[in-house]
Amino acid sequence: MGHDIVLSDIKRDYVHRLAAEGRREDGRGFLEFRNVEVRPGIIGKAEGSAEVLLGSTRVLAGVKMIIGTPYPDTPDKGAMATGVELNPIAAPDFESGPPREKAIELGRVVDRGIRESGLIDMKALCIEPGEKIWMAFIDIDILDFDGNLFDACSLAATAALLDAKVPISQVDETKKDYPLPISEIIPIQTTFAKLGDAIMVDPSLNEEQCMDVRLTVSTDQNGNIRAMQKGGGSGSFSRDEILETCRKARDIQVGLRSLLEGIRA
């Protein structure tokens, strides 16, 4: 296999010991995100785009809109697809080639978060029922990997969709491009890592490499839970831990949500 990155035992022990003491390597509290920056509209050729910096993690999401034919089972709805590439520019152990398990899980979790929450108004993307629809391709490029790609990618994808315009003028010069129809429900995703008994939000690279298990929770502005994914290892959560983590997710998403305010094509 490739250039695997192995965390030294001494570092591993250190991260675990800190966690047991209620502390983190970078001095954050367990419920504290790293510094987050959202930069919408930076790629002129994309219909919508946003770069997200989460600590040193850096991802860029771009939306392209294409006219296609609807799926037979949804003749009056548009379509969407989400792709994530673990670009080898982002980390020494990311390799070129078709996406493997890790990238596929990441892409599918981001995709579900958008699709199942109804963030995009798919009915509004139908041009001619059964004949012509808009298809939204959301591609996410990982540029620098310093932990917690799940939240960085989901935030970038959401911001890029908010920034997106339907390029109707490309097919009908008499019409003006208009903002991508978005529902009022905007889910925000937060990821927690469990190390021993400690549960912390927005794991750093080292914390991710040490974690026993991960839980991603997506919540909307009404406090409802819109998507979840347990992953990142063979560890487990108790019933109380899951409920507690959901409560924390509801509180923490408020800060992230405020970063999306004002983004609209």
Binding site: G2, H3, I42, I43, G44, K45, A46, S49, S56, R58, L60, G62, V63, K64, I66, G83, E85, N87, P88, I89, A90, A91, P92, S96, P98, F137, D139, D141, L143, D144, F145, D146
Partner: protein
């Protein structure tokens, strides 16, 4: 090259180009070195409408094993366009065009990197085109060279790259998007700036011998200007280090 399409005037009567440039004028270029955390060296470049990120990994053990050379390091160059970097979405993944660009670019860098110092190793250059507006291979090579220097890879010289071509019947430096699409010729070139020799040269279109000579001179002059911007980016980078910032 699609060949001269009559309905678009690439050069006006005063000899000015669509974006107002003179024939031997380059689009604005900015480079920032040391922008990524995980890569050993990196650079971000904007050139006209091009936005390019370059990262360098290594020298490190070359994999797969059979790619190793017992006498020197190998150079890998991955050129990739983001799906959203162009007007019509590019299907993700490698294609014949990006493979070819990667190959000729790797050969250009093999000319300058002191490969003998690192037997069995690879120097891996990864370039991502975030937004494309003609001249991406020159932008990619220019950014990669700064990323290599930022990574501390020993080189016999910097590589700078720039294209010249023909548009609207006139030889011009650094083709813009429309000039690339509707112009008559494109000559991307890269130079070893220590020796002044050409380490990458491609050409397509239609040029008289005289026009080719002018294009060559334009592109080589363009490389010299690019080299100054590369040096400035590295100086700024190390100024930051000295001041204890990065």
């Amino acid at each position: 090259m699609m060949g001269g399409t009559a309905d678009i005037e690439l050069i006006d009567k005063k000899g000015k180009r669509l974006d107002g440039r003179k024939a031997d004028e380059m689009r604005p270029v900015t480079i920032e070195a040391g922008v990524l955390k995980r890569a050993n060296g990196s650079a971000y470049l904007e050139w006209g409408g091009n936005k390019v990120l370059a990262g360098v990994f290594g020298p490190r053990e070359a994999i797969p094993r059979h790619s190793q050379d017992a006498t020197k390091a190998i150079v890998n160059f991955r050129y990739n366009m983001a799906p959203f970097s162009v007007d019509d979405r590019k299907r993700p993944g490698p294609d014949r065009r990006s493979s070819e660009i990667g190959k000729v670019a790797a050969e250009a860098f093999a000319n300058v990197i002191v490969l003998e110092q690192f037997p069995r190793a690879s120097v891996d250059i990864v370039v991502e085109i975030l937004e494309a507006a003609a001249g991406t291979r020159c932008a990619a090579i220019t950014a990669a060279s700064v990323a290599l220097a930022d990574a501390g890879i020993p080189m016999k010289g910097m590589v700078a790259s720039c294209a010249a071509g023909k548009a609207g019947g006139k030889v011009v430096l650094d083709l813009a998007q429309k000039e690339d699409n509707f112009g008559e010729a494109d000559v991307p070139l890269a130079m070893n700036m220590t020796t002044g020799e050409v380490v990458l040269l491609q050409m397509d279109g239609d040029l008289s011998p005289k026009e080719f000579e002018t294009a060559l001179d334009y592109a080589m002059k363009g490389c010299k200007d690019i080299y100054e911007i590369q040096k400035k980016a590295l100086l700024t980078r190390y100024q930051r280090v000295i001041e204890g910032e990065a």
